[in-house]
């Protein structure tokens, strides 16, 4: 520990800290632009110059390490003079366009210019002009003359985002920030550069010129997209969400936000919003009063439950629904006498049901990821499915951790990967078994009987051996199963093997939850239990009536074709949705519900953190929070226990006295590993859910839909396999699966294993295809 004195106050800090950190510890503010606590030190703005005793010249506080007995003066005459001098230089080339600048009112330069700037400029010469740049639909770089070259954005890209999207070119007065030639800045985290920019050089493009910061009221909320549950500050004006910023929470999202969370708000007021209840009569949609629509829905459900029997009613919800909504949905369905309720729409293997000891979760707190030194990531499009978790893994890798990846696609994780096994989906269990075997050999452990047999039948490959070595050498190992592994047709097998691997290396084992409420769904009991049908079974054996909560059947389910067939066959489909969508074809009643900004609710994130939020704006049109709609449906159907008068009451009923932490458990009991089935003949489909098609809100966010990640999906194949078929990359071909087919562009991708075709799910272009996993054919169109 080092003792030093800042402005006459004594402070003790760790060795290696800088003066600015010591000052912050004392609560002393030192003006700065380029310094950021999460980024490396650049010391190029010089605003934080302070006077240090015995130093001949002022020193930058952000880059000066503390020394024993140091005496620092942050507001002495010399320091102030230095800071004012720096400010004058900074302002020389800064345009005086605060009135039109979107940063105006929340600009660090503007704030500090009040304190340190002169009232008039002595600079008479021409100001520097930096040409505007078009860097994509998310970040506006229209006024790069405002840039003070702090390089925060550059450092963010390199250090946090993992990708250098912006860089500083040229020197001296000609230095300017730019992207690579005609490249856009829209990786999954690039929106954070807007927050980081201390001036108005990088601003939000969708928000551009729509409101001033002082007009906005700031309301807290929780992200409804990925399973991290990022804390949000939703900024509202005139009952409309104008933009979304991160709410700093070191344990979850730190001070970052993924672009999905940040820009999805543009989809909230999309013209596809459903604002009036509608019923289909004689094949035509009619807008009706709530009372009429609700009674129509209730009558339909009642007739089917009394006629055909309650087991002919099925309820499906997306894992983006809140705990309250899921709880009331399952209560309603169970009150009608059915147990057919599920939220795991994209899951295809339910053999673990009944053998789980708790709700599958991350297996550790989110923040612990940074401290792990070995990772085994099984089946995850990590960067796109979990942008900020990927960033945490990246930070850990940067500190020396080794990442091992088992997956069916080799997407760039923007970090060094120690060992990777890229295999077709059908081979994944066998590969994982090999790792387990190699690991058992290293650890000289006897394996549990449940996996013994399977493991003995495999011989570890060199890659598996290397991976096992890597895992065995770690002290804090994390085995993480991604969305792909959870959606895999042998998900339970992967689960079981991963669990044993984790047990062998004494590490943490967890699931990277698929969506905002993947854990909450289990705790809200929105799972079928022993009697009911799960999501896949409900669609495989079509029900007479479906109750859909937030679900777009062809986009949100594991098997789009099957889901659509089931919907079309049903007598009665009641759709609770915030948007008008394809349901118009098969639904009988459309009930407008609200997205997360217009209702209160609770999400339980992947680490089991219960986060409740309040509505930030009033519901649009006649839309109403889904929990209210479900409550009234419960009343109309005379189901007991639907007397809640607030979402808090629902949450109370759902979670009161529930030991959430105690209910989180990844262990499987009583499941036996099975020998991997022989690799099926034909091309296997590898389906990802593209980042901006993962839920109803982002699908309708115009700026996100304009990014590279949202282009219409193509089919990808290894070039050798493509050559065998005699096709050329870029051709339009016909991908067929079961009875469905889709015309797509075929693109060669040599990172894919042989024998697979990568075709994304969750997009209208591929909605005519069947299951996310399975055999597909590729033919000339």
């Amino acid at each position: 520990m080092i003792n030093l004195e800042i402005d006459g106050k004594r402070v003790e800090v760790e060795n290696g800290r800088t003066v600015i950190e010591a000052a912050h510890q004392l609560g002393i503010y030192i003006p700065h632009f380029c310094y950021h606590k999460k980024l490396s030190i650049a010391a190029n703005c010089r605003m934080c110059l302070v006077q240090v005793e015995k130093a001949p010249k002022p020193l930058p506080a952000c880059a000066t390490p503390v020394a024993e007995g140091m005496k620092v003066f942050t507001a002495s005459e010399q320091a102030i003079k230095a800071q004012k001098g720096v400010m004058e230089f900074l302002l020389i080339n800064h345009p005086l366009d605060c009135p039109i600048c979107d940063q105006g009112g929340e600009c660090e330069l503007q704030d500090l210019a009040v304190g340190y700037g002169g009232s008039a400029s002595r600079y008479q010469e021409e100001k520097r002009i930096v040409l505007p740049k078009d860097i994509g639909p998310l970040v506006a770089a229209e006024e790069m003359s405002r840039c003070i070259n702090c390089t925060r954005c550059v450092r963010f890209g390199v250090e946090i985002g993992g990708m250098m999207e912006l860089g500083q070119a040229f020197r001296g007065e000609h230095a300017e920030i730019m992207s690579f030639v005609s490249d856009t800045v829209d990786s999954e985290l690039s929106g954070n550069m807007i927050d980081l920019c201390p001036v108005g050089a990088l601003t939000s493009k969708p928000f551009r010129y729509t409101a001033r910061t002082w007009e906005l009221s700031r309301r807290k909320s929780i992200s409804p997209h990925d399973s991290l549950g990022s804390n949000l500050v939703v900024q509202v004006k005139d009952n409309r969400v104008m933009r979304v910023l991160p709410l700093e929470n070191e344990e979850i999202n730190e001070c970052w936000l993924s672009d999905k969370d940040r820009f999805s708000y543009e989809g909230l007021n999309s013209n596809q919003r459903l604002t009036k209840p509608m019923i289909k009569q004689g094949g035509k949609w009619q807008e009706v009063e709530w009372q009429v629509a609700l009674e129509y829905a209730a009558n339909g459900l009642r007739q089917i439950s009394q006629g055909a029997g309650a087991e002919h009613i099925g309820a499906l919800a997306t894992p983006h629904s809140t705990v309250e909504e899921l709880y009331l949905l399952q209560k309603l369905v169970r009150g009608l006498g059915s147990s057919n309720v599920d939220f795991r729409l994209r899951q295809s293997d339910f053999s673990a049901d009944g053998k789980q000891t708790g709700a599958p979760w991350l297996g550790m707190p989110v923040a612990e990821i940074n401290t792990c030194d070995r990772f085994l990531i099984v089946g995850s499009f990590l960067r796109k499915d979990h942008p900020l978790l990927a960033s945490r893994v990246r930070q850990a890798v940067k500190k020396g951790a080794q990442a091992n990846v088992l997956h069916a696609a080799d997407d760039d994780l923007l970090m060094p990967v120690a060992n990777k096994m890229i295999v077709s989906p059908a081979e994944m269990t066998a590969q994982l078994a090999q790792v387990l075997k190699a690991l058992a050999t290293i650890k000289q452990a006897t394996l549990d009987a449940s996996v013994q047999q399977v493991v003995q039948s495999v011989t570890p490959s060199a890659a598996a051996q290397a991976m096992a070595n890597s895992l065995a050498s770690g002290e804090r190992v994390a085995i993480l199963l991604g969305n792909f592994a959870q959606q895999h047709p042998q998900a339970a097998q992967l689960h079981l093997l991963a669990q044993h691997i984790a047990a062998l290396c004494g590490g943490k084992f967890g699931f990277l939850g698929e969506a905002a409420n993947s854990v909450g769904g289990y705790l809200a009991q929105a799972v079928p239990g022993a009697q009911g049908l799960n999501a896949a079974a409900m669609l495989a054996a079509p029900r007479k009536a479906y109750l859909l909560l937030n679900v777009e059947a062809e986009l949100d389910t594991a098997d789009a074709l099957q889901a659509m067939n089931a919907m079309r066959k049903a007598d009665m489909v009641v759709v609770l949705s915030a948007y008008k969508h394809h349901a118009a074809e098969y639904a009988d009643v459309l009930l407008p519900i609200t997205p997360f900004t217009e209702t209160s609710g609770t999400f339980i994130n992947t680490e089991g953190r219960v986060q409740s939020f309040k509505g930030v704006v009033k519901p649009l049109g006649e839309a109403r929070p889904a929990w209210k709609v479900l409550r009234v449906l419960g009343n109309l159907l005379n189901v007991a226990g639907f007397e809640h008068d607030s979402s808090e009451a629902v949450r109370g009923e759902a979670l009161q006295g529930v030991d959430v932490a105690g209910k989180l458990n990844n262990a499987l009991r009583g499941l036996n590993a099975q020998a991997a089935a022989s690799t099926p003949a034909g091309l296997q489909r590898v389906a990802d859910v593209p980042i901006y098609f993962s839920d109803a809100i982002v699908r309708r966010s115009a700026p996100l839909q304009a990014t590279r990640d949202a282009v219409q999906p193509s089919a990808y194949m290894h070039s050798t396999a493509l050559g065998k078929l005699g096709m050329k990359s870029g051709e339009i071909i016909m991908v067929g699966q079961g009875q469905g087919s889709a015309r797509l562009k075929i693109v060669a991708d040599d990172t894919l294993p042989q024998g697979v075709v990568r075709v994304a799910a969750g997009h209208a272009a591929t909605a005519a295809l069947g299951a996310m996993f399975g055999i597909v054919t590729v033919e000339r169109a």
């Binding site: 605060c98 009135p99 039109i100 105006g104 229209e142 551009r208 010129y209 729509t210 409101a211 001033r212 002082w214 007009e215």
Partner: protein
């Protein structure tokens, strides 16, 4: 003692008579009423009357939608909505002044970085319906076009005191 004399003095109603003497005197004083509209009082170049939005000489509207006037308005009489126009500039899509709320304090004028919103010398206006006094952007721009000459002269006269 003084209290007692004051008590009895109060019965003489002297203060009341004094007051009546004052009003009585003024009864005969020369009247200063200005016979508007035949006679008009002179106006200063800082007169704060009806608002106007100005344009540059090339016809481009001055307002850049910075909303400083909206923020400074103590009566919350100004409502502005902005967007990025096709040429990339920040412009208002709505600039409304509710003259029923306006207190004619002149702070909007004072805060404007481009001298777009000004208060003219026009004060003889009226509305026959409530909505008539809700001035929208086209109305304010028309005011500016109509009185630009006078406005420019007044700004020039005031410039040396700034």
């Amino acid at each position: 003692m003084e209290k007692i004399t004051n008590f009895f003095k109060s019965f003489l109603l002297l203060e009341l008579l004094k007051g009546m003497a004052l009003t009585g005197r003024h009864f005969f004083a020369r009247k200063i009423t200005v016979q508007f509209p035949e006679e008009k009082t002179p106006q200063g170049f800082r007169f704060r009357g009806l608002h106007a939005l100005r344009r540059y000489e090339n016809g481009q509207e001055r307002c850049i939608g910075c909303k400083l006037c909206e923020a400074v308005c103590p009566a919350l009489a100004i409502h502005i909505e902005t967007e990025e126009r096709d040429d990339g500039t920040r412009r208002t899509t709505r600039y409304d002044i509710d003259l029923v709320k306006c207190i004619f304090c002149g702070l909007c004028e004072e805060s404007c970085p481009v001298d777009a919103i000004v208060e003219t010398r026009v004060f003889e206006y009226h509305g026959e319906k409530r909505g008539d006094l809700y001035y929208t952007k086209p109305m304010l721009l028309a005011m500016g076009d109509k009185h630009e000459e006078q406005i420019a002269k007044d700004r020039a006269a005031d410039a040396k005191y700034r």
